[in-house]
């Protein structure tokens, strides 16, 4: 069974060959076999190339958390056949849940790189969303007063 895992914008492919046996597929196609044993209480051990390491994981819907050798990882379960399309460079999304306080531009406006386009307020902080490039505001997807989630698209800036 193929299981695709998203991490920090990249998608990784794994193949579960059976209970506790997972082949991790590298970009060049080579496979690296890891044995995973589930322990009572929800912990795991992993074994690859000899050494046994304890680890912990938890799943909440499509998010899977793993703590392995002192590092915490957050993966997302990727459904569908193709890797997640990387978001085009001119798309701006809300970095965190909050409320749009101010919209400083309109669709069709020409903007400079770093020009503030919107202000989002969350946790009593005001965050300026700035133009990632010089260009035209091709779409404005939020209005003042809108509540937004993390990752919610706010605006698009395209080449002039």
């Amino acid at each position: 069974m193929d299981i695709r895992l998203g991490f920090d914008g990249q998608v990784h492919l794994t193949r579960r060959k059976g209970p506790g046996v997972v082949d991790v597929v590298a970009e060049d196609g080579t496979e690296y076999r890891v044995e995973v044993q589930r322990l009572p209480g929800g912990a795991f051990t992993t074994q690859a190339g000899g050494a046994l390491h304890p680890a912990e994981g938890a799943r909440d819907g499509e998010t899977i958390w793993v703590r392995y050798r002192g590092r915490t990882y957050r993966f997302t379960l990727e459904r569908g056949r193709r890797s997640r399309r990387a978001r085009p460079a001119g798309d701006l999304s809300s970095p965190m849940p909050g409320q749009v306080q101010k919209v400083l531009v309109a669709e069709g406006d020409t903007v400079e790189i770093d020009q503030p386009l919107l202000v989002v307020e969350a946790m009593k902080m005001q965050l300026e969303i700035r133009a990632p490039r010089t260009g035209t505001v091709s779409r404005l997807l939020a209005r003042e007063g809108d509540q937004v989630e993390a990752g919610a698209p706010l605006a698009e800036v395209r080449e002039p």
Binding site: V22, W65, Y68, R69, T72, P116
Partner: protein, 497 residues
Amino acid sequence: MFTKVLVANRGEIAVRVLRTLEEMGVASVAVVSEADRDAPHAFAAGEVYCIGPAPAVESYLKTEAILEAARTSGCDAIHPGYGFLSENAAFAEACEAAGITFIGPPPEAIRIMGSKTRSREAMAAAGVPVVPGFQEPGAGDRALQAAAEEMGWPVLIKASAGGGGKGMRVVHRPQDFASAVRLARDEARAAFGDDTVYLERYLERPRHIEVQVFGDAAGNLFHLGERECSVQRRHQKILEESPSPAVDAGLRERMGRTAVEAARAVDYRNAGTVEFLLDTEGEFHFLEMNTRLQVEHPVTEMVYGVDLVAAQVLTAAGEPLPFDPGALRPRGHAIEARVYAEDPGAGFLPQTGRVLRLRHPARPGLRVDSGLAVGREVGTQYDPLLAKIIAWGESRDVATRKLRAALGDTLILGVGTNVDFLQDVLALPAWNEGRLHTGFLEEHLPAWGAGQVPPPEALALAAEASVAVDPRVLPRNGTGASTPWTRIGDWTPLGRR
């Protein structure tokens, strides 16, 4: 001694204060918002009262609701913790008017030191050196711009009514000043209800050194050494320690004496902290005084062997302290790491989620003050500080290694935290050499987490975890729906909310 004390706060500090009250044999009352009914601090008190809906402004900041709970439960004192109403002079006065002792300094001291502009004036009058700045409460944005031009760049814009980095902005270029002031005012208005700002000369590579002061019931003012809190992001501290690697005995004596004089200038009582900036020439300048217990007070407690909350309660009750201030001697070194719900790899943006798995570290010489519990939601309603991990060692080196190890033991799954980041900071040569200043993180770890690649073992684990049903994952509050995963096999969810 008081019959019963209400703790007007939440999270780790409420738990910590309630624990001391329990140890002192004083009855206690906790207050919770609707979102905190099952919070750890609710279980740390003798009685609990719900004081309003989740938003702080409708619960933890509501004076009348808190006083109502105190009256109903028969409390004769209130401990405000830090943040919320702890530095609100009107709240302190409302307590006194209701015949309830406010565990803290006199309201007038709160008022003076709570206004950054008035406090700077009081310090200047008392001969305490201050950071050069411009404060005129009624000044408009244009007047501020003119003052900034005259002071010279870079300039720091700060909120007069608050702290914690909110409403604070550094401006390097004149053309950025106008929008920076507007944003700072908006933040200050949202956080403190007051958009008054003032300016300070921004010192390059300063060290943030603060002194713990205390005024006992008999009116004696003394200090318990310094803490260094230079490692910050967004002007908020993330690592603090006592003693400071930059402070020798002579400097400690001078800063301690100055801090006590600052407190004396406002007739201070109870616990307080005088914050200074130490510049690269070895000169220190008054920054502000916090008229409350600070988040990082544990490092002082561990080095001096005292319980500052107990001292606060005794002082407020008019009783003597259980130690002789003149006999206080620091021993060893303590370092505190603040565990925040934020992603250091994404601009330290606050993270939300539900705590799925949790393990607090425990080992000799370690102290953990936490407000976390499995199943709790971490949202954007409250400050993202989740827990504090404090390590004590005979030397700074030992304390550093112990804290690093403890962070490695810390397990928090379900919400992103800065635990891994803190471990990496403590491994930096610059940290170990004590070469600290407030720009430390920008200098040494500007792009932490970028390009991180998960090892195959972590991926395999995630793959396996995605398939196996986890019996301890609780269904989300309010969904009501069961999923295929909760019906397969022998696993049964532990509960449905």
